[in-house]
Symmetry: C2
């Protein structure tokens, strides 16, 4: 979801991760995002990071283990971004959600619009690997669970209807974002991301306004 630019050091405590391991994960993240899993060659990774093969196998059991650890590192960055945005009491809940996706979009821009690692690996691998299918579903669910909590706050604030099922609304938000991220990867531009976010926020806000008897903005 959130991508490289916003990650910084993706492990929770950068000082404790071995610098070689960190370098491999950083480079692997970029390579997986660009090329996907099957096209990623361990030899190319070793050459790109000037790392001996033995060092790689000291830190990672195999390529699958490596990719799973890259996903974990990526998700640490995503969760940090979610916390920074969704727990920001200075903004209304819907504005916090918008802020998170704007930050995500900015990191996509910095990378040249390669989309979301979860969407990429999820599509590539979930037909052939139960390990990746379950892992990536869990990752997306962990994002939507946090979104749901923020949407529940939006509900208490009257920003969205009291009757909305916030977990379903959060799943929908994450799903639609992933589709927009695919299109941004195909087109190498942010048009789909902006359109999806505007539509979603306006639609849920209009639902609350009309539920309260006010005149909503029309959708466009």
């Amino acid at each position: 979801m959130l991508a490289l630019g916003a990650l910084g050091h993706p492990n929770e405590n950068p000082s404790v991760m071995h610098s070689t391991k960190q370098r491999l994960i950083d480079a692997g993240l970029r390579m997986l995002l660009e090329q996907g899993y099957n096209s990623l060659g361990i030899q190319a990774l070793l050459e790109a990071t000037d790392t001996p093969k033995g060092s790689f196998y000291h830190h990672f059991g195999d390529k699958e283990d490596f990719a799973l650890q890259v996903i974990d590192a990526y998700m640490v960055g995503v969760h940090a971004g979610l916390d920074a945005c969704l727990l920001d009491g200075a903004l209304a809940p819907l504005a916090r959600i918008r802020r998170f996706f704007e930050m995500t979009q900015e990191s996509y821009r910095q990378e040249g619009y390669l989309g979301c690692l979860m969407g990429g690996l999820g599509q590539e691998l979930s037909g052939v690997s139960e390990v990746f299918r379950r892992k990536i579903d869990w990752c997306l669910s962990s994002i939507s669970e946090r979104m749901a909590k923020c949407l529940a706050q939006a509900q208490r604030n009257g920003e969205i209807p009291a009757t909305s099922n916030v977990q379903e609304m959060a799943d929908l938000l994450v799903d639609c974002w992933e589709g927009a991220a695919l299109r941004s990867r195909l087109r190498r531009n942010p048009t789909s991301l902006n359109a999806m976010l505007d539509f979603y926020i306006n639609s849920v806000a209009a639902g609350a306004q009309t539920a309260a008897g006010e005149q909503p903005r029309t959708l466009s």
Copy 2:
């Protein structure tokens, strides 16, 4: 978008396609949908279809050419499904759009929820192949162009606001569906597809109702 179950014979005139070529494309479609491009072995395809290697290279230049022809065949099926639904004057325009996605969802169900070939190959290959990136972007655009024409009819019928940009609304619809298709592939169930379609149709319809001063359904 539309998948195997709804395809039947994917070439425009089945009688003229060589039966070996047809058999390779049918099997390749299933294998690409399940495994993706890089995991697909030509040898495995030949064994699955009991085809000699020479026959494959008689019909296809290489693996890339094969996959591109599978995509073409898939898109013939998608366009046939679009025409069958979107040109059906017995239904209101928004109901035609819903019908198309319900048919698509039914074909996903028959396959065991493997999602959309365009989403799968688009994510896997668009970072490493300009050929596939452009091809798949074109495929999605060809779907949204037809959706836009149907949305324009919905606009004339007063089902969606007169101020909506129907091409943008159509792009958004296709993008969000692709995201929901990814989640259906990860979870092997249709929940995300139903939720996305309900949200989209209700949101655009609510926009028209409130623009006309009526009481919309609230979003949930």
